[in-house]
């Protein structure tokens, strides 16, 4: 049996792709400037180095690689579109399947050269510049990219085999690749717009954008668009999902093999002709006509129905539909004949108006009371990317009281379309009948606190919380230089290792867990245990005194160097109002009650309460908030302290940095919407502290009344 690759033909295609391949590789190399710029910028601005996340690392580059793969494959198969070249290649004494696979190999080799070259230089640059680098995530991105490339190459070769003009090649490739995903995604959006309790990306795996890798950037775009239309659903692909990768790989292989079959059956006389199959031609035409109509259906479903928009979208859809037929077939007659079939588009769009409602209705009829639930898991906790939170998934909670809380939350979720409670969770409910349900539920403050207590008794949970992935500290935040952060991390690590299991849990922050009474700093690390990565937050308390002291020294030194200008600057911001455009607030525990603080206690300003605007006519309304102004004045005038045990730590930062974490030893923080976060150790006398508390209480009261 002859090998599947024809060496001579492969060599030829490889040579013919030389220019395109080199250009692609060069452009890819330019993407390596990104880590350098990031590193330089971070160092120049004395900011912390960001951990490269899969999506931030990859999205743009992936998009480029996919486009490059698309172009290379088109070039490699371009001979199919011209009569003379098609005849020449079809006359060659080489099996068609060998031509096909040799071509794909040549394309793949060029892409592999470009991408691998990029990856090696990328890793090298990270290494040389000392930028934190998560190799596991990078490998995931790399694997994703390769699978995505196979998908692209497969679909383009399939499209080229099915049609004979560049126009139809391109549009059919786009349609084959993206239409099924778009239809699923839009269906997911429709379902999501109809219900909050169905986690669409989890109820059916194909609703999850992580599947079908190539479509991800495009799907994210659709998701963002839908978000602007009032939906809460935004695609957030998981680049490290093994099942998603396997699925995409199978999909890619399927496309590639279908391409091979189509290529083998392809008639040389197809060159210069549109799609030979009338059915496929119609399907692609319908796909292009359908998408604008689905947008219209979404508008209607979200009650954003505007007659003008409707008319425009229908007209646009019909025009796209007809234009595609006209341009692809170059036949006005065929365009006219296709017009009545436009009703198929309308029919499918109409289905989208009521099918999602039926799905939601059916889902809401599924009952799960406390008696029928065996256990449940917390799958995700809001949108935090906390290492310990993501690790929580898979831990079964079967405590009867917790189950009852879950059952109540489930009942509330299916009967109410909005969540007023504090915390939203996605839970997987294991029913005694053996079937599972996955739903979004909302827990009340009391439920959340009780769950936290109950979780502490869960052995699997305790075990996970006490674990700390090995050698995976990528960075540490809280306003330290990278080298300082590493030093603190090392000190902390040593102290952490010596702690008891109970104390380890006490210092590792979790959304649900009680905050330790004497924490003065927070250390944020990027943690990774294989592909299970995320941020981990640890409290620096008297349980790790060396770390606390080192933090105080570093921060005081830093603010000695840089003065308290930043704090004063914050005052200035408030006075000019330039940067206070959305929120401020104070989160605290009292000095006299250093007990555990729990979510929802009186000392915490709920997130939503912080959404008011201090700015009026561009200036801070001092008279509107005199107590806050005085409070800040006290803090600004206080001296910096380098003693962790005797100081008050103040954080000024972005409220979106998650206020829960900023509670510290005695006084917590003042959070500004200035987009940055600064941590100070201040010397405050008891009188000053009392006054701050008093002012804070006044301010809280004002907030609750409304400004």
């Amino acid at each position: 049996m002859k090998p599947i690759i024809h060496r001579g033909y492969f060599t030829e295609v490889f040579k013919q792709l030389k220019t395109a391949g080199i250009v692609m590789s060069c452009i890819l190399m330019m993407f390596n400037i990104a880590p350098l710029i990031t590193n330089l910028s971070v160092r120049l601005n004395n900011r912390l180095l960001p951990v490269p996340s899969a999506s931030s690392m990859a999205t743009v580059m992936m998009l480029f690689v996919y486009i490059a793969s698309l172009v290379l494959t088109f070039i490699a198969f371009n001979w199919l579109n011209r009569r003379s070249t098609s005849d020449f290649y079809h006359a060659l004494p080489i099996k068609r399947s060998r031509i096909y696979w040799s071509t794909l190999l040549a394309v793949a080799l060029w892409i592999a050269i470009g991408v691998t070259g990029y990856a090696l230089v990328h890793a090298f640059l990270y290494l040389v510049t000392g930028t934190p680098f998560n190799y596991v995530v990078f490998l995931c991105v790399y694997a994703n990219m390769l699978i995505g490339i196979i998908q692209v190459v497969g679909v383009v070769s399939l499209a080229c085999a099915l049609s004979g003009t560049r126009f139809v090649n391109l549009f059919s490739a786009v349609a084959i690749l993206l239409t099924p995903r778009a239809l699923l995604m839009i269906l997911a959006l429709f379902i999501n717009s109809q219900s909050s309790f169905l986690p669409v990306t989890r109820i059916f795996f194909l609703f999850d954008p992580s599947y079908n890798i190539f479509a991800t950037p495009y799907m994210t775009l659709i998701g963002s668009l839908a978000d602007t239309l009032g939906n809460s659903y935004i695609a957030s692909p998981d680049f490290c999902s093994i099942p998603a990768m396997l699925y995409s790989l199978v999909h890619a292989c399927l496309l590639t093999f279908l391409g091979c079959i189509a290529f083998k059956r392809r008639a040389s006389e197809s060159a210069g002709m549109p799609m030979r199959s009338r059915f496929l031609q119609g399907a692609i035409r319908t796909a292009f006509g359908l998408l604008p109509l689905l947008l219209l259906a979404l508008l209607i479903l979200n009650a954003s129905f505007v007659p003008l928009a409707t008319a425009f979208l229908i007209l646009f859809s019909f025009t796209v539909y007809c234009l595609y037929e006209l341009i692809s077939t170059k036949s006005a007659k065929r365009m006219l004949l296709s017009m009545p079939l436009y009703t198929i588009c309308i029919g499918i769009a109409a289905l989208y108006l009521f099918v999602p409602k039926l799905i939601v209705k059916a889902a809401s009829l599924v009952k799960a009371d406390a008696d029928s639930i065996a256990s449940f898991e917390l799958v995700t906790i809001d949108s935090y990317d906390q290492y310990f939170d993501t690790s929580l998934s898979g831990i079964r909670i079967d405590d009867p009281e917790a189950v009852r809380i879950c059952a109540d939350a489930y009942q509330r979720a299916i009967t109410s379309s909005h969540f007023d409670a504090v915390k939203r969770y996605t839970v997987r409910i294991h029913r005694k009948s053996g079937s599972d349900l996955i739903r979004n539920v909302a827990f009340t403050v009391a439920d959340t606190n009780r769950l936290a207590d109950l979780l502490e008794q869960n052995e699997a949970y305790r075990e996970k919380r006490a674990s700390y992935p090995d050698g995976t500290i990528y960075y540490q935040s809280e306003d330290m230089r990278f080298s300082e952060a590493r030093e603190v991390a090392a000190v902390f690590r040593a102290e952490y290792e010596a702690l008891s299991e109970k104390d380890r849990i006490a210092v590792s922050a979790h959304d649900n867990t009680p905050k330790p009474s004497r924490s003065c700093y927070l250390l944020r690390y990027s943690l990774a245990d294989g592909i299970n990565s995320g941020y981990g937050t640890f409290f620096v308390t008297d349980l790790t005194p060396k770390t606390a002291q080192r933090c105080a020294e570093i921060l005081s030194k830093r603010y000695d160097e840089h003065t308290k200008d930043a704090l004063l600057q914050a005052m200035k911001w408030m006075e000019t109002g330039d940067h206070l455009n959305y929120s401020n607030g104070i989160v605290t525990v009292t000095k006299s009650h250093p007990d555990n603080m729990k979510i929802g206690s009186d000392m915490i300003i709920d997130f939503d309460d912080l959404h008011y605007n201090l700015r009026k006519n561009g200036t801070l309304p001092k008279d509107a908030c005199p107590e806050l102004y005085e409070l800040l004045r006290i803090l600004c005038e206080a001296e910096l302290s380098d003693n962790a045990a005797q100081s008050v730590t103040v954080t000024i930062g972005n409220i979106y940095a998650n206020s829960d974490y900023y509670d510290t030893l005695a006084f917590t923080g003042i959070l500004f919407g200035n987009g940055q976060s600064e941590l100070y150790n201040l010397k405050l006398s008891d009188e000053q502290f009392s006054r701050v508390q008093e002012l804070f209480t006044q301010h809280m009261a004002r907030i609750r009344r409304g400004l």
């Binding site: 001579g8 033909y9 060599t11 030829e12 013919q16 009569r83 003379s84 070249t85 098609s86 005849d87 020449f88 079809h90 006359a91 060659l92 004494p93 080489i94 099996k95 068609r96 083998k264 008639a267 040389s268 006389e269």
Partner: protein, 303 residues
Amino acid sequence: MITASNLTKRFGDFYALNRLNCTIPEGCIYGLVGSNGAGKSTLLRLISGIYRPDGGSVAIDGQSVFDNPDVKNRLVFVPDELFFLPRSNMKRMAELYANLYERFSLEKFERLTRLFSLNPNQNIATFSKGMKRQAATILALCCNADYILFDETFDGLDPVMRNLVKTLLYDDVLERKATAVITSHSLRELEDTCDQLALLHKGGIIFESDIGNLKTSLFKVQVAFSEEYDKTKFDGVSVLSYTKHGSVASLIVRGDREQTEAKIKAMQPILFEILPLSLEEVFVFEMDALGYEFSEVLKEEVK
């Protein structure tokens, strides 16, 4: 041997070839003539395995051609619309052919490029139409294929180059027992090249014959007698056409030349002359005999 049986190829509703049958023996130069749209190029594309037949079959030495590399390795096709890699020169094209055709000879390539005085390093895009044809022909001949298929190859070649190509073709046929199939819409083009000719019309071969036979079995006789006479006088002779101007009659006769000559001379004519027919004239009369209007079959030629 190339065998086509009931070969059918259609494009949409149009039948380019409709149940065509033909046999092309080894070691000959086979001419396919027909007007535009007769199906010549389609037949060559089917023989070379570019097209898949919609009906019937085409085989070389009993083996189907389509997607059969073993057979396709034994043939090379020079289409009417030539293909060269963008910005390539003949050297690069030779490299391409050498990668793809097992029997491609680089030595022969060098010899032929010298013979045709073509610069192998010159960009082919700068070649004239005739030079491009020469280049394509050279590349095809260097493949050393058993079957060489030329589609309208002699178009655009000047007489000197045409003769050179023909000579090389004869060499290949004689030395390697190669078979060449040449299409043209011009009978004159093929007249002095081919051993066999087939006339294609509306997707079928309506006439096929050995050229030598054609020319010797059909001839023109001019004859006059002292007495009055008409066509009945030649009842013993196979007359395809009879015209008379004054006392001189012109006959197109099929049959043995010597026997015909003896028969007519026995009638004691005052004028007797046997004239050779051009291939075109032969075709005109053969078509007439088959009930076709020659000018319909080969429109281009008549114009």
